[in-house]
Amino acid sequence: MSTTILGASLAEQPRRRASLLRRMRRYPLPTIGALLLILLVASALGAPWIATHDPFEMNVVDRLQPPNADYWFGTDAYGRDMFSRTLHGGRVSLVIGIAVAVASTIIGLVIGVIAGYFRLADAILMRIMDGLMAIPGILLAIALMSLTRASVWVVVVAITIPEIPRVVRLVRAVVLTVREQIYIEAATAIGTGFPRLMLKHILPNTLAPLIVQATYIAASAVLVESYLSFLGVGTPPEVPSWGNIIAEGRLYVQIAFWNILFPSVFLGLMVLSINILGDGLRDMLDPRLARRL
């Protein structure tokens, strides 16, 4: 009634015309998250240039050095520079985060749309998804590792598979809700065929929640990668990743805590910034929800 009309006019008018700067002022927290993430991504991408040392170079003389002017984050048990290793470790996390998010979103979208639109497929596909969800990612990774050689791509597959059902459920829920909307009936009545109905009327509604979900998946993939590497079933040990750096460092934690501290802080900041960004995106993409908060 009159109150909702008012609410809509208050919220929607600025939304369309707001410049990027105004948006950033309106949503300070996601802006901080985004800036932090950009910094972390830049440091990972730029690692070969920013790094002060070769991350693989061993200086046995300088073993377990505390942070100093030469080794900013100290050195590990082999005398490798922690700063360089931490930056390079970010590259693995980044690749895995993005690859898992993209792969699970695309696969999940396709399956979700089919499940949401076709009754018969729904029953079968959703039971398969339930089955997939029951598989613990870590066990799956261990199984895959024992079948093949350890590589980053095996890790990606191992993390992606358990994420797919979550995306499928999300997409399916949106499709099920949207297909009941009257404008879908209206589109049918004016002779809109199935492909166009999907592309123009149904899929655009899944975009916003998918983007948000993808950020959460990326964050959780980064975390799971480090679990797996920590347990020795993830990224092969010769590639520095935050997980296996922490795993190696844990042996010396009592005498060289920095071996764990810096990769952990980077890992934490990466996950935190992605999650903050995801929350912010959700609020920006769904202004109705944001208004209620």
């Binding site: 404008y183 009936e185 209206a186 009545a189 004016i190 002779g191 065929g193 123009k200 655009p204 509604n205």
Partner: protein, 324 residues
Amino acid sequence: MTETPVLQVDGLVKHYPVRGGLFGRAVAHVRAVDGISFAIAPGETLGLVGESGCGKSTVGKAILRLVEPTAGRVTLEGEDITALGRAAMIAKRRRMQVIFQDPYSSLNPRMTAGDIVQEPLVNFGIGTRAEQRERVDALFARVGLRPDQRRNYPHEFSGGQRQRLGIARALALGPSIIIGDEPVSALDVSVQAQVINLMVDLQEELKLSYLFVAHDLGVVEHISHRVAVMYLGKIVEIAPRAALFETPLHPYTEALLAAVPVAHPRLRRKRIVLKGDVPSPINPPPGCRFHTRCPIAVPLCREVEPPLIANAAGHAVACHLRSA
């Protein structure tokens, strides 16, 4: 009527299964529409009235095959469309269009007004893009919207303007009949008048037929040539407008008319108020479905369902005690 009707409906039935039990089998059926028949002539408006849950909206959807009818036949311009396949049905949609009740949810919020009205033309590949745009401009002008509003999104329009957009979309394909599912009941009175006048003008201009589904008897009396009254999935009375409103025969029609608020405080009266609620369409009462609330019911009404019998003037009523 010697002309071929634009739309003829014979014994239309739509039952919705109520699923339950371990395996989701149908344990009962909602008899939303339970065997109704009528015809609409070219340029004619048939008003379809009844209370919520009587199945009047389902009739519209079943005719459009937005829901698949359980039984019965729908004939559009002489051709049976109930058995048509998907592609053939899409082709038929050019001739039969719909206007929905809710001007907010019946327009895709992510499409511009221009795209919404253009979409039917795109679907049927009518004309080049430029010709389509010209047609959209003409349609905008015809329903009283400014052509520059085509770039706006639905939320930037008022309720009445959105309903105009819905009408423009329905007109785009040049249909012979438009089914209006409560097209004005979500609108304010002053805007409702604008939309009703527009619909009447368009009918005269384009020789359109309307099936006008509504619950507001005042609006239905205003716009219809003939009126059908539905109760629990059945038509209980169907008659030319004047006959129905001046000499209603079915006790339900009488009660419905008596329940409408008066137009002037001096006309306040003690009226016969129908007792109770509409029974569930899952287990409609046997015999005449209205007998549970009927003030004049006799034992026969509980056992035998009265047939719908018409007189020479086209006034038909389904009642054991009243005949046309």
